[in-house]
Chain length 235, copies 2
DNA sequence: TTAATAGTGTCTGTGAGACATTATGGT
DNA sequence: ACCATAATGTCTCACAGACACTATTAA
């Protein structure tokens, strides 16, 4: 049995202390069973006037789609595991993964005891590889995803959390996810926010809320039609 | 090595499926190293006009204090682990643990690879056992706790998260944590909110915000001094 | 000149904040 | 009668929302 423990220690569980330090009860950490810990990420983008979420082929079942995810490796930050899973499974460079919630329901994964730390990240459509699977989240009440039936695990719930989180961030700040490449016009910014929030916004009210948080570049958009607009960048 | 894996399976890791199911890469879950997962809880209460957090003796070092916490057991929900740790380490029946954040910094625990899922819960002072260690969080800027030096791990940061979370909940709803036993007067409710939020509140503004969310019992407090107040209970 | 869009002025309703006034109990 | 506290009326200010008007470009 001790040999077994040492096997695991060599496997990367014990990183800093080779002497098997004990807790307050004189037990080694390895005397306690440990869960598998995964990260799953709802990667959101805006395309075609709507908020979309990226799916990847579900590795377990041959058919079906799932959120990109991976098991966390020893010594790895959760956010780094997220970035790695996005890179390897979706070919995307994520930017700033944010934790949403730990899903811990027993039996949520039939393979065993698996906790999933749900994350959300946001990336411009242009940075996605061609042909990725995107499904819309805006055309369903309560952000529930019905277009793909039976997402595995808690993935539908993760998408709900993610959409709520991103929408609340886009309430008062100009493009906090950095979906727009500056400089941009206020119209472009407003249409982005309308896509994220799934509702139309008042033109002048939106301007008054956002302009104090922007800085004008002094340049002007090409007025192909109508009066050209001033260009801004984030403050 | 296979023997070693089966040992772990018997130890509770594999709950539902005895046939060692595999993932998309043909590997067993147990082929991946797994972290220890703990829960740590900032249990907040209001006493003596201020917001306090409960500490317990730090089991590792003989002296020093820490937030109550425990390792999560197989098949156990995180919230149940929180309730168990509060019961066993603090003698308190928690009510509704809420997740705050997963702390995952490598090296945060010198015993090895340990993730901590931080939680917050709220309990009335009267339900605490006599003589528990409480420290104030109100008298420090930014809710940082300086009264007890060098809390272990990320516990000071957990308290910051917890205080911010509870304060935001007490912004617009009457006693969402259930610290008051109904019926209560608006003055009692306001003084509770003042204690939680660490600032004084306008009497009439507070009434206008809270009264629509309360229902009057029709009863009247005993006016030991001045006009008696109406009694309310949550809607 | 007209169409189209950008940018700004202004009116109104709502609600927070602050203060003043009235109501109701005990002493 | 007086005091202490509860409850409510009201004034002001700030701001979101809505609408209208002016400005600037291309065709």
């Amino acid at each position: 049995m001790l040999h077994c423990l040492r096997k695991y220690a060599q496997n990367g569980v014990m990183t800093s202390s080779p002497s098997l330090p004990v807790d307050g009860f004189g037990k080694t950490l390895l005397d306690y069973p440990r869960p598998s810990v995964a990260v799953d990420t709802a990667l959101l983008t805006v395309h075609d006037g709507g908020l979309k979420v990226l799916l990847v082929p579900h590795p377990g079942a041959g058919l079906g789609w799932a959120l990109p995810g991976t098991f966390v490796r020893p010594g790895e930050r959760l956010a780094d595991a997220v970035l790695r899973s996005l890179r390897e499974k979706a070919g995307v460079s994520g930017r700033d993964p944010q934790q949403l919630h730990v899903f811990d329901e027993p039996g949520r994964d039939e393979r065993g005891w698996v906790l999933s730390v749900a994350h959300v990240d946001v990336v411009p459509f242009g940075e996605l590889p061609a042909g990725v699977k995107l499904i819309s989240v805006t055309e369903f009440a309560g952000a529930r995803v019905a277009q793909v039936r039976e997402l595995p695990y808690d993935h539908a719930q993760i998408i709900d959390y993610a959409v709520a989180q991103v929408r609340s961030q886009y309430l008062s700040a100009p493009d906090p996810g950095g979906l727009l490449t500056p400089p941009f016009t206020l119209k472009e910014l407003r249409e982005l926010h309308e896509a994220v929030r799934g509702e139309s916004l008042q033109r002048d009210t939106f301007r008054r809320a956002m302009e104090p948080q922007l800085v004008a570049t002094g340049e002007i958009s090409d007025g192909t039609k109508g009066r050209p607009a001033a260009l801004f960048m984030p403050y």
